[in-house]
């Protein structure tokens, strides 16, 4: 079994079998990572380019470590630096990269669909490292990997996702992915930050955070950009924290063995208090290390598909 598409654009586009394949491969990569050498040669001779139009040191580093551990040569192009010429179109940039015999382009862009546009124009495989409000597939995959490790399965779990649902590509990717894997996603957040038509997705929307979290196996907080207050989406940070944060009391409503997650970086005291973030239920640090394993798995699967 291998991945069907040359690209990883989103979990919307993946089948249940493909998601399982990535998660199984990631589990193996985790073993490799915990071994002493930390190196494999799966990507020997491959060239990987990270093309980031939005700053995200965490995600970029995670991908770069993954490629390095597997022996790929990697280059970084950031749009804020001089590498991308002003006014150069996305397609021109991607074609240039493609002409340098690049195997994989890892792309982050502020516009939904930008990686899809590039993927249709170049030979290299494109990994979506976050596009606008659309998807962040490797984040959701590492979330699923983390959940699966703790719960043994994704099937039948209750997963509560809390926060700014509207702007969150992490929420969307998790919603599509978890639902495909048989988990039931519950959502809660300010009503002004609920995406339209959510009732037509597999998710169940709750008006209170407590209702979403009650008896949950997994509680996931989402980052809220505090500047959104200025566009009228919520009245104040303190009011947001009062009604929409995952407080200790809220977390108590979940199952006693529930795990707590957050894609980071977290606004402490807003999305959740520090005490919750640091609580024994929190698996947030583990998410980060699983991120490297998932990205190794994706790089491995896409390159082995290319080799055939």
């Amino acid at each position: 079994m291998q991945l069907i598409s040359k690209d990883l654009l989103g979990l919307k586009e993946l089948s249940k079998e493909e998601i399982s394949l990535i998660l199984d491969t990631a589990d193996t990569m985790r073993l490799v990572l915990s071994a002493n050498s930390k190196k494999t040669s799966h990507l020997q001779g491959k060239s990987v380019v990270t093309l980031f139009y939005e700053n995200s040191t965490r995600t970029r580093l995670s991908f770069e470590m993954a490629s390095k551990f597997m022996g790929a040569s990697s280059a970084n192009i950031s749009a804020s630096g001089s590498s991308v010429k002003k006014g150069e179109s996305l397609i021109d940039t991607a074609r240039t990269i493609d002409s340098m015999a690049t195997d994989i382009v890892i792309m982050r862009h502020q516009q939904s669909g930008a990686p899809h546009l590039i993927a249709s124009k170049i030979n290299a495989s494109v990994i979506n490292a976050g596009d606008g409000m659309n998807e962040h597939p490797t984040q959701a995959l590492l979330d699923m990997m983390t959940i699966r490790k703790h719960k043994g399965t994704l099937e039948g779990l209750k997963v509560a996702i809390v926060g700014d649902l509207l702007h969150s590509r992490v929420a969307r990717s998790n919603l599509w992915g978890l639902s495909k894997m048989g988990a039931q996603v519950y959502l809660a957040g300010p009503a002004t930050m609920v995406p339209p038509g959510i009732e037509r997705t597999p998710a169940i929307l709750c008006s209170k955070v407590e209702d979403a979290v009650k008896d949950a196996d997994v509680v996931m907080g989402l980052r809220v950009q505090l500047e959104r207050q200025q566009s009228g989406l919520f009245p104040s940070v303190s009011e947001y924290a009062r009604f929409f944060s995952i407080s200790e009391d809220v977390l108590k409503m979940a199952k006693s063995d529930a795990i707590l997650m957050h894609p980071g970086p977290c606004n402490h005291g807003v999305e959740m208090p520090t005490a919750v973030y640091d609580s024994p239920q929190s698996v947030i640090n583990e998410q980060v290390s699983n991120g490297v394993a998932v990205r190794m798995a994706v790089l491995y699967l896409l390159t082995s598909r290319r080799n055939q």
Binding site: K12, S89, L90, I91, H109, Q111, S112, G113, A114, H116, L117, D131, G132, M133, N134, E135, R169, R172, P195, P196, G197, I198, R200, T201
Partner: protein
Amino acid sequence: MRILIKNGLVIDPVKQSREIRNIYIENGIFVSGNGFVTDREIDAEGKAVMPGLIDAHCHLREPGFEYREDIVSGTRSAARGGFTTIACMPNTSPVCDNAAIVEYIIHKAEEQGSCRVLPIGAVTKGQKGSELAEIGLMAEAGIVAVSDDGRPVEQSDMMRKAMIYANQFGLRVISHCEDMSLADGHMNEGIVSTELGLKGIPAAAEEIMVARDIILSEYLNIPIHLAHLSTARSIDLVRMAKDRGVPVTCETCPHYFTLNEEAVRGFNTMAKMNPPLRPESDREAIIAGLVDGTIDIIATDHAPHHADEKEIEFALANNGIVGFETAFALAYTWLVRSGRMSLEKMLAKFTTDPAKILGQKLGTIDSGSPADLIIADLENSFVFDKKQIVGKAKNTPYDGFELYGKIVMTVQGGKIRYEA
């Protein structure tokens, strides 16, 4: 030149009738056939012969955006689509907000164009929404309506003044209905926008302005024409207003009754327009509005763009599609061939009704009228190929569609403007 068009099935949108008969053209007008000697005889047997189509809403991009389209290429494209008269919107650069530009457009079209061009003047100077444009002077120069299309007249007070003033010169305002504060998005707001992670534009952004304009029209008892309606509630609002006798007219475009928001999936920028493509239920309501007469006319909103303006990130891509060369076939295929309405009724929405709204004595085949007509093949299907578009821009979502109603000849002012 004298032209005889023989044995065609002549469709008359005025009399709402059809008969096989001959058509005679002399000195640019339709004449009766007594003692007619012809220079050219055209056999239209098995084909439909109809008045030339009138488009009350298009964008020719000249002056200022000739890299997208110009008057020569735009009118050539119109002629291929069966249009003999087109009304072009003023959002050019500079904006068509004064008599000199009106005269330029008319002159250029007469000299070099392939159909009649009727300019629409801006409502406000520079389409900025704050001061009235010289509507009277533009009326003298030949505009047929005023509009700030591309954007709404946001201030209700400015809209009211514009309606009153334009009405004094026998013109109506064509309103681009959009509440800008709600329209900060890139496609219809709903499940598809959520699934694609694109910012949505709710139907309410259109409907709020439709309601406002109807209220102003009713209060002032002055006609208003609403451009490119796309939602069920917009149509309901117009239907109720018409029942009360409000002098409101409206248009839709072929894309709103042939496509729905699903066309955007895959971040397809060819399906990006303003107003956006709506859900299937709205598409159905647009057809119902056309069938029951709530929607007066079908306009193209022909909006040419350069390939570079469409082959980019979805949110950054320009709104709009080219429309001339598909409009008739789309309407014929979706409305007539599907059995929803008669050809005569559909044709009136492309001819007599836009003529009325623009105050023109056009769209008929009566003797003495300008000889504008088209011949179409209604029997055989064809596959639309965007590579064959004769306009400069090829931004269409209909490439590869199988359609009926191919235009085989366009005659305008007694001249053959297009021949397949």
